[in-house]
């Protein structure tokens, strides 16, 4: 399936997946990030339930240095 992750087009082998599985495929640790799917924040405890489908837009952020 085709996804947009942090503004980048990505194609994953699976046709459907949970958010957990998408993170595992991309090698991203869930610790230290927050995620929005189609402009809605996904609570940390819901990564395993959140269904990801063709065309979804996913934002993955972390804390960085700033003032």
């Amino acid at each position: 399936m085709k996804l947009e992750i942090n503004g980048e087009k990505r194609e994953l082998p699976a046709t459907e997946a949970t958010l957990d599985e998408v993170l595992a495929t991309l090698g991203i640790e869930a610790h230290g990030v927050a995620i929005a799917c189609n402009d809605r924040v996904v609570r940390r405890g819901e990564f395993a339930q959140q269904r990801i489908a063709e065309g979804d837009r996913i934002e993955i952020v972390r804390a960085v240095a700033g003032g």
């Binding site: 942090n6 990505r10 991203i28 230290g32 990030v33 993955i60 952020v61 240095a65 700033g66």
Partner: protein, 264 residues
């Protein structure tokens, strides 16, 4: 020695003894940042929120912040409209498990002045969503009053452009903002050295937020301590009520009993 016990700084449901809030940006190293944070005595520290690089590995900024001592204040720096700022704030809340947000909606890339209209729109939405909102805003008494009326927990007027170190460019508007505000006034941006911090605090503002003034000093750790001392010195001077200024001299020593004076 701390002989005078000040009241705590209260922002929404939060209380702080330190009136200096520091940043995490522009430090030469993480070690320097940690040492500067320690030297500053600050109890609140700002962080920014950004997309991860896909495929990146490595440590997190949060590994260098002791959350048992420091409250984290995430910002919406880099946002140019209310929609981006609200989305960033919501992600920050989930990431850092805090309702605190430094609302920053930039209107111009060269001056980094805020977009007042978008800041007001975002503030209203974030307050309604349960955030404790600390907005960065121009030194504009009207905008500050509007933000307070919307339910912001503090107002944070700039004293000079972000990262400029120009000091308190318009002390009169800062004073007017403080006189009228019912929420804490935090000078955010412009403080370049210790005397700027003292000047701002002598105006009566409740706290200072600074990043570059410490981080871009040749010795950030020493400057952090200088800023801590100046913030406290300015605060005490404000609370003390300074003497009135006079145009002419007024001798401190008695004018009677001078040697060589003619006797009556």
């Amino acid at each position: 020695m701390q002989s005078y016990e000040d009241t705590p700084l209260r922002i929404g449901a939060y209380e702080f003894r330190s009136r200096l809030i520091v940043g995490t940006g522009k430090y030469p190293s993480m070690d320097a940042m940690q040492a500067a944070h320690e030297a500053s005595g600050a109890e609140m520290v700002t962080v920014a929120i950004r997309r991860i690089d896909l495929g990146e590995k490595g440590g997190s900024l949060l590994d260098y912040i002791d959350r048992s001592k420091m409250t984290i204040l995430p910002n919406t720096a880099g946002c140019f409209n209310a929609r981006e700022a609200v989305a960033t704030a919501q992600l920050a809340r989930e990431l850092l498990e805090t309702d605190l947000i430094k609302l920053e909606v930039i209107g111009d890339t060269q001056t980094l002045h805020p977009d007042t209209r978008e800041t007001l729109i975002a503030a209203e939405q974030l307050v309604a969503d349960g955030f404790t909102v600390l907005p960065y805003i121009g030194d504009d008494p009207v905008a500050c009053a509007q933000l307070e009326a919307l339910g912001c927990a503090a107002v944070m007027p700039l004293a000079a452009p972000i990262g400029s170190g120009l000091g308190i460019c318009n002390p009169y508007t800062i004073r007017i903002i403080k006189e009228r505000a019912g929420v804490p006034v935090i000078v955010d941006a412009g403080v370049g050295t210790a005397s700027d911090a003292a000047v701002a605090m002598e105006l009566g503002v409740d706290a200072l937020l600074m990043n570059t003034g410490i981080a871009a000093a040749q010795n950030p750790v020493a400057m952090a301590e200088a800023m801590a001392l100046a913030t406290r010195a300015g605060r005490l001077a404000f609370l003390s009520g300074r003497m009135e200024k006079r145009l002419y001299a007024n001798a401190s020593s008695p004018m009677q009993g001078l040697i060589g004076a003619p006797t009556a």
